[in-house]
Amino acid sequence: MASLFPKRLLSRRSKATQTERVRERRHEGFLRYANFRWAKISGGLCLLIIVSYALIDVTPRPNGGSWYGYTLGTIGALLILWLTALGYRKRKMTSDYWSLKAWTSAHVYLGLSLIVIGTWHTGFQLGWNVHTLAWVLMMLVILSGLYGVIAYATLPAALSNNRDEMTQMQMLEAIRAFDRQLHAAAQPLTPEDTAPVLAALDEDPFAGGIAARLSGRYPRCATSAALVALATSRSSNADARDKVVGLLKQKEAALARLRQHLKIRALLEVWLYVHVPLTFALIAALSAHIISVFFYW
């Protein structure tokens, strides 16, 4: 069997596997991948562009229609298409050299270099037109991606701290348990006291729009309202009420943990809702930009 593969290839493959193991052990993420290989490549590319832009005298003044502009524009357009392909690549399992981590690392750093490629392609001539629209969309996509990178680098720690070694279903289960206990404990209460408790039970922990998710603020939280109502109520048996108040406090804490969890997850995910749709808007604008150039050639 071994004779089917040249020895060199085999040794190279085993070496690659070994490197991969080292990386796994060090928890090397996509940012530090291969000792910042793609950061260096992309930084070098940016530097090359900035320096050559300063050295090359494009007449009458720099713009996208000069040879330098065409070069940068072509590189930029191809790069945008390749960067978009990450969405396809991440759904495909491969065992090849191009791991998803390598691909993501290249995606992040080459995507950042697009700031220089795209902006220098414009020759700093911006206006109210489809060409600048494409540039603006590109910058929005890059900035949302930059936010995503920062979120991925910082938020998981907060997410982990908040979870306190619970899974998210366990968090929900805790709330369910408090609900059951509340339901039982509230039985002796008078109807005016049960109403807020019932409202608290009826509250969907996943309710609230995108604003509530991102801010983590729920000003019309029924559990908090029930807590206030029962603390001031005098109508039912005091012991039963105290028990319910205690349970409501516990539920409120559990709910707060779940909501913090939802907030961090929302912050982790929200950029994709900008990044992905705007990428396709960008590709549409880019097509219009390129076609318009050739249409009114």
């Binding site: 206006g127 037109n129 009826d202 997850r265 992905v276 749709p277 050639w297």
Partner: protein, 645 residues
């Protein structure tokens, strides 16, 4: 009859366990409190919610006891009469009470149908904990944004193009293809900003020269005379070998059908509002830098020297000079000694420009009468044309006669002068003068009585007078000869030919070259802040009129540097000078492009045009005045340019 309470519980495996419990009494109470016959642990149920009674064992009456009712057939009621044989479903809070009949018994089935709480409901973990539940899908956003952008910025503009492609002028309003405009049009074309189709005629076809000459009729169709007369092969051979960038651009151009050498290659548009940018130096230097070697290699004879940048690489000027009196002007060859130009005059600049001496004293004595100072200045004799570009030819009557008077007689306070420029008339006038007028008789001589001897002074006057009287008719010829000979009025400034074989007195014709540098434009007006002698450095020391006093490249380079500031000498206040500052390409007789600080004036003249005669430069340009940005070109009067201006 009795009421039987039936409870159904479901095991984890889905198996149902049915438990029946007979209820005592005819009146069944239902509520959350433990004392009720049917105890429903549901916070949405009142402590004593309802009573269930049956009068005949078949019909059941359900009566809500406290304010809260119950749901019956979808409506909230306080009382319901139910035929147990037909059965019914009632709803209390989260529970359902089903009334049915089995044999003699009324079966009351109580089940929880709602979840205990909202959180108890089943959730799709992937959806509930992520933003999927609260945001529209990414895929939908991608489609929506993409289609929106394509509609507004691709379909819309193409539609606008197709609906107006054959019109001259579009109606006012927004046209979708304006979104494609890469930059504002220059001020000359600003009125076309709505009409993309006026230049972009065919889709995917680069703007053609046809679109330009549709408006710009006339000489702009062609290149300059020198270029248009050159064979195409020679023009192609002159081009420099393309660099990497140009090869990329040429590749683009070839691949995407963008022909080279069109008007728009030099006259770029969409570069911003304001005047169209001056054609950059590169477009000239592309060929003219190192051109002669390439031409020689290709078998052509170069007629102009290489030039790439005024500051560093520009040939010495070759003014048009007359190498001999009366000769035709030819292009001077610099570098072979001092240049001479025979204009037929004798004029020592040094004598006239001295600060002391006879000329200066004479000028000073005329102060107040003429615009003289303590000495003569260049401007006392050399006057600019009305447009300021060039200097008028020197005219005897205007520029010399202040000092060099040709007066020979005063009659009744009127001075008679010799006719300048007409030697035959001079001869005739002098002859007539000597024939017709006797010498005026001195008063001392009195009558014709005899004098007393010894009166010497009177005798002297007598002698002078009578000798004059006696000599008079013969003196005309002498006077004419004297005027035309050394020391005479004509001879001082002109070369005179004595009468020979039937010829009369003749004066060498004066040829004042109006424009020495015919390939470039020099604007005296633009340099009026500068002293004449700063550029015409040789003038104060020039002893002969044959000295060519046109400044050389060196003097220009004192201020003018290349387009990018390149220079070979030290320059204090540098003026960046692209080729187009002095040279113009289309030979349409107009002055070339102007430096930026003067261009402001020009913009005003486009928008707020002065009357035609303000800048009337008929003599200089050969044609009517017109603005640099006029679009209705006329056939240029190139004849004047051929004559050297």
């Amino acid at each position: 009859m009795s009421f039987i309470l039936r409870r159904i519980s479901t095991t984890k495996t889905g198996k149902q366990i049915v438990r029946d419990q007979p209820l005592p009494g005819d009146t069944i109470t239902l509520g959350r409190e433990g004392g009720n016959t049917i105890h429903i642990a549901d916070l949405a149920v009142n402590p004593q919610h309802a009573t269930i009674t049956s009068a005949d064992g078949r019909h059941v009456r359900v009566l809500a006891s406290e304010g809260l009712g119950f749901d019956f057939n979808g409506r909230t009621v306080d009382v319901a009469d139910v035929d147990s044989a037909a059965g019914a479903e009632l709803r209390f809070g989260g529970h359902r009470l089903t009334i049915a009949r089995e044999g003699d018994n009324v079966i009351l089935l109580v089940e929880r149908i709602d979840e205990l709480s909202q959180s108890s409901k089943d959730v799709d973990e992937a959806k509930a904990f992520s933003l999927q539940g609260v945001m529209p899908g990414k895929r939908m956003g991608a489609w929506a944004f993409g289609i929106l952008v394509l509609l507004a910025f691709l379909i819309g503009p193409i539609w606008a193009w197709s609906s107006f492609k054959s019109v001259d002028e579009r109606p006012q309003g927004y046209h979708a293809d304006k979104a494609w405009m890469s930059g504002p049009l220059s001020s000359a074309h600003a009125s076309l900003k709505n009409d993309c189709q006026s230049c972009h005629v065919e889709p995917f076809v680069a703007v053609t020269d046809k679109a330009c000459v549709g408006c710009h009729t006339g000489e702009h169709k062609a290149m300059s005379m020198a270029h248009a007369n050159a064979p195409t092969a020679m023009l192609l051979a002159a081009r420099h070998p393309p660099g990497v960038g140009e090869r990329i651009l040429a590749g683009f151009a070839k691949t995407f059908n963008k022909p080279q050498g069109r008007c728009v290659a030099c006259h770029t548009e969409h570069e911003g509002a304001g005047p169209m940018l001056a054609t950059p130096q590169k477009f000239c230097a592309d060929c003219h830098d190192g051109m002669s070697a390439r031409l020689l290699k290709a078998g052509f004879k170069p007629t102009v020297a290489d030039a790439a940048d005024f500051g560093t690489s520009h040939p010495e000027f070759r003014p048009m000079v007359r190498t001999a009196p009366g000769a035709k002007p030819v292009r001077a060859m610099p570098g072979k000694g001092a240049l001479t130009d025979f204009d037929g005059l004798k004029f020592p600049h040094d004598v006239h420009l001295q600060a002391t001496g006879g000329v200066a004293r004479m000028a000073a004595s005329f102060r107040g009468r003429y615009d003289f100072g303590k000495k003569l200045e260049c401007g006392n004799c050399h006057r600019p044309e009305a447009d300021g570009v060039r200097i008028k030819p020197v005219e005897m009557e205007r520029d010399c006669a202040m000092c060099h008077s040709l007066a020979f007689e005063t009659v009744g306070g009127v001075t008679r002068t010799l006719r300048h420029g007409e030697p035959d008339q001079v001869v005739a006038d002098l002859t007539a003068y000597y024939r017709s007028t006797p010498p005026s008789r001195p008063l001392q001589l009195g009558g014709m009585e005899r004098r007393r001897p010894g009166d010497y002074a009177q005798g002297q006057v007598y002698n002078i007078y009578f000798r004059e009287v006696a000599m008079r008719p013969n003196r005309a010829e002498d006077a004419v000869r004297a005027v035309f000979s050394k020391g005479g009025a004509c001879y001082d400034c002109h070369t005179i030919f004595a009468p020979q074989a039937g010829n009369k007195w003749r004066v060498q014709a004066v040829d004042q070259t109006p424009r020495f540098l015919t390939k470039g434009w020099f604007d005296h007006d633009a340099h009026k802040e500068t002293d004449c002698a700063d550029c015409h450095t040789a003038a104060p020391a020039s002893k002969a009129a044959t000295d060519l006093l046109v400044p050389g490249l060196r003097q220009c380079r004192d201020c003018h540097v290349g387009e990018t500031g390149a220079r070979v000498v030290k320059v204090e206040t540098a003026t960046e000078s692209p080729c187009a500052m002095c040279h113009e390409y289309h030979s349409d007789g107009g002055k070339p492009w102007m430096p930026q600080r003067q261009r402001k004036k020009n913009v005003a003249s486009v928008t707020d045009r002065p009357p035609r005669n303000v800048y009337g430069v008929t003599q200089v340009t050969g044609g009517d005045w017109r603005s640099l940005y006029d679009v209705t070109w006329r056939t240029p009067a190139l004849a004047a340019a051929r004559r050297g201006g």
